[in-house]
Assembly symmetry: D2
Homo-oligomer: 431 residues x 4
């Protein structure tokens, strides 16, 4: 065991740390979907840095480009001065991602974190509309700084603010109140009644698939309807694609299959390609009404990330890439559905879409147990949802067949281990 290093953590790091508690090992190396600890133990990584490592660990082409750049004394840190690394990224992002999708966005580089792109989006929406309120949704997660936290649902995180979180209204996400209620009728009822206490907001912000909130995937028609409401009421639609974007759901942007064009899109996590900090705020040109420097940040010019981000875009030049993600997504769906059917004692149902799927179990504590056994069995996998009721699969989107199958094996083994440990019986037997 790596006692000494974990003791260093224990002794020196704030008790706010969390994943080191679930995965008590000291990691040293990683490649693709594999990661090793300091004793040489290998793990299959189906966590992917919570969606920041969609291309796996240390992808070779990006690695090569990055090392060359560093050896060549390329600019590392540039604030928002122009660098060759930046203009190459901007050009390729436009050519490979935006133009083929018929999208026309201005690119803003806020600080290189998800919460920073969300804060910039909220500020801009309020500035442009002159309104203060923002509508967010139940179980949404948008970040930990005060602006982003105000549109985040989780009560433990919200309480951490230490101040009341204002200027926001939470509305029910798709399916929040059960399938028979159309949550958007409810939302619009509030907008149209001038006695509702809810004024027309500056923006509506949402994730198309809620990751932290429990791998809740909104229906495409629901997203379409949100888009229509925004247009009808002149509300700015912000899609927070920090986790669901960059291919995680099968298309580059998660909202593509809903056939909508948001006013503002927040990207971070995997946009840097290699796990390096980077964030973008994509802005419909008419809304790009910032004054120079009105939002800034020291690390908005992280050129190492520009280099790897540019290389990562190469994946998307070949249309077969998107196809392959979708094919493997179907494979994941099939596998999870098999598990649900084969192990009814899990009382489980399928959640999410693409490479952002999971199993929600009604058995209290079960999903956590599965993840614990997975770790023992050599796999990194995480739970999601307010009660940790979901275990979720976040493999790299460029994983090969073999990796996927290895992962499935470990997951099934972990499910069986958890069922055994918790002594769960199938209802068909017990009833």
């Amino acid at each position: 065991m790596t006692n000494k290093d974990l003791q260093i953590i224990e002794e020196h790091e704030s008790c706010v740390r969390s994943y080191v508690r679930s995965f008590p090992a000291v990691f040293t190396k990683a490649r693709g979907y594999k990661i090793w600890d300091d004793e040489g133990k290998e793990y299959i990584d189906f966590f992917s840095g919570a969606g920041a490592l969609n291309y796996g660990h240390n992808e070779p082409n990006m690695k090569k480009k990055l090392v060359e750049y560093i050896l060549d004394d390329g600019i590392t840190h540039s604030l928002d001065k122009a660098t060759k690394a930046k203009t190459e990224f901007l050009e390729k992002f436009s050519d490979v991602i935006l133009k083929p999708r018929n999208l026309d966005y201005k690119v803003m580089f806020p600080g290189p974190t998800g919460t920073n792109t969300v804060e910039s989006a909220l500020k801009l929406a309020r500035k442009v509309t002159g309104r203060t309120e923002v509508i967010s949704f139940t179980n949404g997660f948008h970040g930990m700084t005060i602006g982003s936290l105000s549109v985040t649902g989780n009560s433990m995180k919200r309480n951490g603010a230490g101040i009341p979180l204002n200027h926001t209204v939470t509305m029910p996400y798709d399916n929040f109140t059960g399938e028979d209620m159309e949550t958007l009728d409810y939302l619009e009822r509030f907008l149209e009644d001038n006695g509702s206490g809810v004024s027309v907001p500056a923006a509506i912000i949402l994730e198309t698939v809620q990751g932290e909130g429990g791998i809740n995937a909104a229906r495409f028609e629901w997203l379409k309807k949100v888009d229509e409401i925004c247009k009808r009421w002149d509300i700015i639609l912000i899609i927070d694609d920090v986790q669901a974007g960059v291919g995680r759901t099968g298309t580059f942007f998660s909202f593509e299959p809903a056939n909508i064009k948001p006013d503002i899109v927040c990207l971070s996590k995997s946009i840097g390609g290699y796990g390096l900090p980077l964030a973008l705020t994509l802005i419909r040109p008419e809304l790009d009404q910032w004054k120079p420097g009105e939002h800034n940040g020291t690390f908005r010019g992280n050129n190492h990330a520009f280099i790897t981000a540019t290389e990562a875009l190469s994946y998307w030049e070949d249309p077969k890439f998107e196809k392959s993600i979708q094919d493997k997504s179907d494979r994941i769906t099939k596998f999870l559905q098999e598990m649900i059917n084969k192990y009814p004692e899990m009382k489980a149902h399928l959640k999410g879409r693409g490479f952002m799927q999971g199993i929600s179990s009604d058995v209290e504590g079960f999903s956590e147990k599965v993840c614990e056994h997975a770790f023992t069995n050599g796999m990194i996998m995480e739970t999601a949802g307010g009660q940790d009721q979901v275990f979720k699969l976040f493999p790299p989107i460029n994983i090969d067949e073999e990796g996927l199958e290895k992962g499935f094996e470990l997951i099934e083994k972990s499910i069986k281990d958890a069922i055994k440990q918790m002594n769960l019986k199938s209802d068909t037997v017990t009833n």
Copy 2:
């Protein structure tokens, strides 16, 4: 001219961009205090990434360690799982920085930006005390997300919030109202009068030298007195050392010569050493009352930055390093004072301390002109203050004599160019 690349910026990047406007070149390479654009023009960099490049660009030892790490497939992104790169940093930071200074802090890794460490500090102070208000100071700058922006003075930045910024009280910084008023008597008068409308706050947050606010250095006795007030009223003292820390003022922490031990210290910018995103929140152990995961962030485990940050700490193992910064600081002071005396038409006075000094000119627009000429003359230098009334020198703290002298030459030349262009006359002549 690099027209094509600057056009790409113009076409694709949000109009929020700022420094590319002051420094219209496309940069490609950098080493130490030098930076080159794509036409091969060399610039002396006395800007240092607004304090994020205290060790200069692409410092060779850090570069070597970083490349080795990458080539070796070291973990890049780890959230807050334990990695060897992280434990090595924690240990060395404790051994080289904290222990010798008799400091005992828990280390929190918030998201890797300055605003994120500030947000985490404010949240923790409010959580621990159960109070909501925070006192900040005139012309303070702490970041651009809503929590940090609430304690930032600049009105243009504040207006960008689009919502009222609350739960904060601004008090006058040292010397804000002129030398004959003791601003802290004023502050304490508010605390002790129960009819003052100002309640005892959760925290007082300040920079010991205000960078963005105009290179305003508080007197050590003023800092000492703030510390005493905090102790007397049981208020948490947060020092935002994001810009002034990591040697910028001559000691590792800027507050060392005032002989105080803040409750919470915010570090970012140069803590990563190489210009890579990293931030730390240092917390007095008794205050480390976070719940696991109560504040988190995707890039809080940026291992590339751990590698370079660890290497950077080597500088501080040798006591001569600190001495050398202080000696060169005296050289800077001497030079600036000479300029002030030699060019009375600047109507200037000296600001700041250490490697964070500048000249404030009462001639409207003069300092901006100096920076413009500096750029033409081959130097990157920036203004500070609400009216851009200060031009400031931020050379790397490990710069050699030669570099410093080269910089001084270019500055004097730029001063002369600016005086000539603005046709300024010395008062002694005109009167």
Copy 3:
């Protein structure tokens, strides 16, 4: 026409004035349900000072007591010093109202207005629970000062605040989203999901019948269910009975038939009996945790109002009084239902209960027209609801048969006049 006096109003009074615009006459005298203007024209008053004159104008017994008191130099203004007038009121209120209903409240005298009792209730609920949020309902109306306005739904009124109104969440009132949705399931779904963004509030505040909001009467089982939710989640239930209380709905407190005992009750308007300013906040004894003077107000000891309020309570000593209100309420219901059936072109349905009923017409502008014609025909009657879609009957609760019938005649005449003027046709004809 009373031109000169109306010109004085026009010239000197702020344009915020409103009712003088709908009822452009100068009134001089009033008795019972009758009111006269300065030209001697008589009006039937079915407005009753928006519910402040439940016993009619200048009720003779109260008038007698009041004049005697004044002639005798009884204390007029006493802040919250003890006066005989006050102790007599307190004792009789306890004996006649509280004890027979098995209620046990402490009586607080805030400033003598509805908004002041609401503000005091909200402050106390927040103080006692240590929580900040309050849940209110769509189309609720609670007053115009910032605290009360924050729980008021009307957007025009809210915009008047000039600042964002915070610390409140608006939930759908009974029937807000149509009959097939149980709005309280929705509310509780938010409370129980820890990712909903809605925390457990200090209080829930509501009117059992929303007056300004459109004479919306909540079902008794809905009120009962709110009460259960409050108990289950340890939330303070505040009933704002400022308008619906003091007999307006047929019982002294409007919530009696729902068989609930709120934690805090707000009373004003008719509690003074004679139309004199007075307000009470009734507080469950365990919650009476005020510090002395923590909420105060100059006119909290309006002794003239104590005198008339005490006399007004005599009505309630005789159980026949309540019975008579209820009988006449049935008469009002019957009349309004007849109107709805007889004039289908109004596209109308019945609203409210007791002496707080009205007709909501789906024909835009119709209800306003009815009130306009009523005024011409010699009747004071007002609209309610966000689109003024309801004309409402607020006769004095001690009105006699004759008065009621006179009123009905004028209303039917005014309906006919409005139908004629707007040239409405019955659907059965036009279809």
Copy 4:
């Protein structure tokens, strides 16, 4: 002793009650400056309902008019419909008060309490300017509803809100930080520095003499300078004359001797003349931009108060009245100065001006003791200030010589009693 009645209070009234604790008697009758309890004990009233009874209790002319009006079935309650009682008041207020002072205000009738006029003033200032912040002053007192409380300094009262009080900045009142600091230079320094964190506010609100805050009278040149700052920065100046107005300081409006014309003036307390609830908000015509009904209230048409208020204005028709107040004010000043000189053991100094003067004692608890002895000696007198350090004289402004002298006698006796009880020695003796 009036045990039974005080027990009723104890049993039934909320513990928020306060004055009944300082003055434990049950009052029954009052006339002029005299008040009697139920045992027939007579008290000299130098409290005057905290400034709501400037004309004394039950002034005979007002009493006569009021009784006649009631007997004649004059309208009691009218919301903001026109009544003869109202137009007569408006006309006389314009003729007797506004025109002779060359003032031109629109009159708004908010709810009939001080806090309501303040709330209406703040709302209007924010609406008209489109700004949110309001500057108030240390030790200001403006009311207990959330809007007014936000501009009130007292910490106990503020804490009662249960929510953070925002959108306001507290600046130091005249002399707050001692005589050698010009507090307004400080305020303006904040306005002019765009890094100060304080934006240009919608309004500045202040009392010319702070009553609750400790009888602090601002110098006329200070008031004049506030006025100039407001003009220079286009800030709305609100004078809260609720307590200091209606002759209390020697002129009808307290700001007259400073020769300023505020944009908005808040009046309540004694404007009704007889102690009946009434409040006015006086608005410079250009600022009267309310929408009809944007601020309203059930008791904004309290016609009994219109009747007595109109009669009260008769006092001001005779210029000798103002002169007589000022002459007696000099008498009060002289008396208090004598006391201060004669009893140096009080360590006292003079506060306030006009009929709003008091003695501030540096001996802890002394002023409270004086008031306690005064009560025993047959006088109602109150303390003021955050530490109750001031005992204040608020006699009726129409008091005769005899009443004043009687009061003085009782005060001197109470001072002597307090000195004796506390065993205070003169410093000249002890040193």
